[in-house]
């Protein structure tokens, strides 16, 4: 699975503080108060307190690898238009 270099640079090192899962989307709040929303096509689970190591993508498959060796895999609802990261001031950091 190909590394999403652009998104990895943005969120690597951030620790997940809270996760909200709704039908069709997952919202992640990081320890620096930035947030990430992922529109998903299926169920997904992410554990709080995990520190992001890298992000990988292959078409609709979206995988976050964590420093502790665990990972979370999602199926994106619409590749290229499913992931949004905003900083604590709500400024765009990444869209894709």
């Amino acid at each position: 699975m190909r590394r999403n270099q652009k998104l990895t640079k943005v969120i690597a090192g951030r620790t997940i503080k809270a996760v909200t899962t709704e039908s069709g989307s997952v919202s992640v709040l990081f320890d620096d108060q930035s947030s990430m929303t992922i529109k998903t096509a299926g169920a997904a689970a992410v554990s709080p307190r995990s520190k992001v190591k890298s992000v990988h993508e292959a078409k609709a498959d979206f995988k976050i690898e964590f420093e502790d060796g665990s990972s979370a895999t999602f199926c994106l609802a619409d590749p290229g238009s499913s992931v949004a990261v905003r900083d604590k001031n709500n400024a765009v950091e990444y869209l894709g």
Binding site: R3, N4, Q5, K6, K9, P79, G80, S81, L95
Partner: protein, 230 residues
């Protein structure tokens, strides 16, 4: 000395075969011609946007943060339009609603736009995109209106916002760097995020990777291996 002659029936048969082959060749040539859409097919490319505001898109550097069209998605855009053969520089995979106006990288917002058609081509649309971005960021045009107008018919939008008459025919020559062979492309190790230039040690040799232009690699957040890619 008499020239050797075949039986007339045989000569006729040979002529028919030659004619049939010529017809077949011409048919293939015509059918092989690729379509050159000036407007996108609204069923394939209705346009798609990120959930952003004018405030978001008017921040300098915004488009760079959101530009991410992987090679497979570009190939899908060409395939959906039936374009199977093309020269580098003939088309660009265009965001119907440009990133600068909140357009997304979804396949629903991507289409292969010709750089060769005249007068309406990708360079003319670029001028419209710049104009609309300027109007939106000056507060003179609502972002949703700009998105809707360019998605419904970008030529009409050009005539509405830029000029009534089409621009003078102008087809920019393809970037010479892109018309050369794929040897001009760099090799990205998609696992490490580093790229290698032609002639370097790991060019085309890492387990995971793909060829692309250096600009695409930089856009994708990749960086040269060892600082130079050599």
């Amino acid at each position: 000395m008499l020239a050797r002659r075949f039986h007339p029936a045989l000569e006729n048969s040979a002529m028919y075969i030659l004619q049939a082959l010529a017809f077949l060749f011409l048919t293939q040539a015509v059918l092989g011609e690729q379509p050159t859409p000036i407007l996108p097919d609204p069923k394939l490319t209705p346009g798609d946007t990120f959930d952003v505001t004018a405030q978001d898109v008017c921040v300098p550097g915004y488009a760079k943060k959101v530009r991410a069209v992987p090679a497979w998605l570009k190939r899908q855009a060409y395939a959906e339009y039936g374009i199977t053969r093309y020269k580098t520089g003939d088309y660009e995979v265009d965001h119907l609603i440009p990133l600068s106006l909140g357009g997304s990288n979804s396949i629903r917002n991507l289409w292969p736009q010709s750089t060769k058609t005249s007068p309406w081509n990708s360079y003319v649309k670029d001028a419209l995109e710049r104009k609309l971005h300027k109007l939106v960021c000056a507060g003179q045009l609502d972002l949703k209106t700009a998105q809707s107008d360019i998605a419904s018919n970008w030529i009409e939008a050009y005539q509405k916002y830029v000029a009534k008459s089409p621009p003078a025919p102008r087809v920019r020559e393809a970037n010479p760097a892109r018309t050369t062979s794929t040897a001009s492309e760099i090799w990205v190790n998609t696992r490490s995020g580093k790229y290698w230039k032609p002639g370097s040690r790991f060019y085309g040799k890492t387990k995971q990777g793909e060829f692309m232009s250096e600009l695409e690699a930089l856009d994708g957040g990749y960086s040269p291996a060892g600082g130079t890619g050599q």
